[in-house]
Point group: C2
Chain length 517, copies 2
Amino acid sequence: MPPHMNWPEFHASPPMAFTDVPGLQEGAVDDFEHSMGIEEFRKNAKDMVDWICDYYASNEKLPVRSEVEPGYLRPLLPKAAPQHPENFGSIMQDVQSKIMPGITHWQSPNFFAYFPSNSSFPAMLGDMLSTALSTVGFCWIGSPATTELETIVMDWLGKLLCLPTSFLAFDEQGKRGLGGGVIQGSASESTLVSVLAARARVAPEHASKLVAYSSDQSHSSIKKACMVAGIPYVRIIPASAEDDYALDPAALREAIEEDLRNEDLIPFYVCATIGTTSSCAVDPIAEIGRITRHYNLWLHVDAAYAGVTSMLPEYRHYFNGLELVDSFITNGHKWLLTNFDCSCMWVQNAEPLKTALSLTPAYLRAKGNSLDYKDWQVPLGRRFRALKLWFVMRSYGTDNIKKFLRHHVQLGQLFVSLIQTDARLEIMAPPRWGLICFAIRGPNNDATNEATAELLERINKSGRAFLVHTELSGRFVARMAIGGSLTQERHVRATWQLISECTTEVLAARAKFHKGV
Amino acid sequence: MPPHMNWPEFHASPPMAFTDVPGLQEGAVDDFEHSMGIEEFRKNAKDMVDWICDYYASNEKLPVRSEVEPGYLRPLLPKAAPQHPENFGSIMQDVQSKIMPGITHWQSPNFFAYFPSNSSFPAMLGDMLSTALSTVGFCWIGSPATTELETIVMDWLGKLLCLPTSFLAFDEQGKRGLGGGVIQGSASESTLVSVLAARARVAPEHASKLVAYSSDQSHSSIKKACMVAGIPYVRIIPASAEDDYALDPAALREAIEEDLRNEDLIPFYVCATIGTTSSCAVDPIAEIGRITRHYNLWLHVDAAYAGVTSMLPEYRHYFNGLELVDSFITNGHKWLLTNFDCSCMWVQNAEPLKTALSLTPAYLRAKGNSLDYKDWQVPLGRRFRALKLWFVMRSYGTDNIKKFLRHHVQLGQLFVSLIQTDARLEIMAPPRWGLICFAIRGPNNDATNEATAELLERINKSGRAFLVHTELSGRFVARMAIGGSLTQERHVRATWQLISECTTEVLAARAKFHKGV
């Protein structure tokens, strides 16, 4: 019997007849009572605040990477939801004893994996408020402040990042422009939306010919966006170590020219990156922008991690050419103290976005010519995400935010200098911002790569730090990504100590193995 | 000068040389200090808890729909982010005086617009925890508990909804199946993912021939999903008042047969709805499922609002045929006490999802054969959303959750009986669950429609309730959507009073107008 056949038909009672109502006497419908009243919530929520404070006071002592085995949790929990209410205390006991061992601590100051995913107290306060109000601001009237604060805060951040005025919703004179900012859930969604906007500028009958371009160092989300959008061709241009893993504009131009000679192909979109995931490579935006303007392609710039440093004069030159860019993103939830999710996206012209994403049935029609962010994103519903970003910018102030970024850059420099004291290790790409790629020194062969992989696993297994790897020119490379909200000098120094000790152990074990066998 | 030209090139300082480091002396890198320390956060967060309690104790007195004008907020806020830190108190003052007037109160017990978007105290506690941990659980090792609790809680909910076992991740014997649940951000994303999975079962060279089907009562997100995915054809089948606005299986079969005779078309996907947005119509799932199985089309069931009532025996018959369905969604954030975002999606076989959505670069590779939810969704990053659903199910217990749903159904019945006492109004579609469509009685013409529109605006302008409209067979119809977490009998009765009074006013004004002019 196929699995879909073993399910009985239900011939149960028809829906209650609506004529047979409980009666019109007041009180005939019993009030449902919530399991947790306001006073109980007040107490529980304050206990939760204390729990959170304890967590932040002590999370550097916890093993950073969870060491549970896949499937650890299922045997620890009941097979079905309880029939009767359970109290907050017993849920929190389970959080402590069953959930916490399975948490990888992204907020630990010793978390150096992936990219940082910042949290901060002001952002958490903004998020509490957002959750409490629980507005669903897909259209302006659905909750005007939800939409308007987002536009304003994205202008604030755009100005702080010195974005060209055309990316702002309003110029200095208060005139509404064609562009503006929107908070997406993730960089992947921002990238997808940029692909859709780019496609919307091309006649639909050409959909099967479209070609997108990026370097092989771009984030995987560009491929995924094209898969989702059904873009048939993504041309991945190899970036080499000689170019510090940046996209070579000449190679891009050549690829476009080649595709233009093929009548079955239509180049339409380029994704460039400022701060690639593997090594924080920086594609030359101005040169690429001149190419995309020349061929009339959409240029999207993914600066998910490093984009926030556009506010620092010493990094502004990386952002030269932004005036030639159609869409630009940086993630507030990576390195701007704003808890996930907060992917900040700007466009110079929102019309292609709306062409790609707007359809307005009667029950969603807006008041006047107000802005409906549903037409700027894939989902309909959306949280009041602007609150947390607003709380962060006001609570820190721009001076402090700059100091925060520079602090991590300095920690990165410190880490580089520490690595350089150790001849057993080498730095594998130009260190940028807080990202340093390193490996055990040696020829590019399996033995060296295995040694670095062993080193990484030994570090992570210790629980004292968590790093992940990448591949650069075929080398297995460890990535030290500095930028956690709580990371300070002593954490970087301690992690360096750990790396040094683990290197000794790995090399000793390998020497013994080679001698012994 | 075109706008993109007025932006200067930056020739600023090159990035700091990494050899020129601050030195290796400990303490050489100054520690950055956060603007808000743990003790300050503890105090502020507890103040926020008190604010939230006050809000929930009093939000029924606030005007439900915000009455601000578009653009109200910009003149009230500075043009740029502050340079120096501002304290929590001054931010909260602005929340109170500037943000709150622009809030439409989705959590007011007098909010009857769109569909409900439930909030509850246990969900808010779970969300606080999720924000504090701020894990980004895109892959299993990124935070094992984040992934595993989601699988478990989605099995809990799937069982409670009596879904066929094939939708669960694990059967009663603990055997892993092909299917399972995932929490998406919104129903729109769930629908998009279902379209992508369906497309993944068809050879890519047929992409330009694909046809999706739904009734004209399906949610707009199906059209948007097809726009995003680049699906060329969406056949919208009209549903009539005679069928209570349900999709007619015979019409569906006919449309598919017709398209199959055209060699340029390939039917691949049907979206059916249990509880349409306009009138809570119910498409006949079993009949549609037999058709989609026959023609090998993907069947997606969107039960965003009403799907939770699959746990009530009196509604189970609407869900007959789920064993023939490929993907099923209901939103925890609509009518299941779980704050946005929490769109619960199940599939019988996750393989097509992964085909559609998985690509795994080196830095994201998973440990063993564990589950990586990034392969089940469009974004890479994801919040720990399962916590809030887990908190809700445990804090309420299944008995109470059922009582919660039935309470709103009874309130709906009460509202129907109240409307029926008033000959000036008529019910425009079979009322189902908490949704009642009504209008001012009259012929289907502009005058009647205008009267109903005036009635609705008068209700909303009062601030005492918020309802939105839809169109049914060309009629302008008011929708009373009952299901707010805090809505009780007295709110429904008061809103009925308001409707009655406003009806009197509208009819009097119109009579006067017609007499006078």
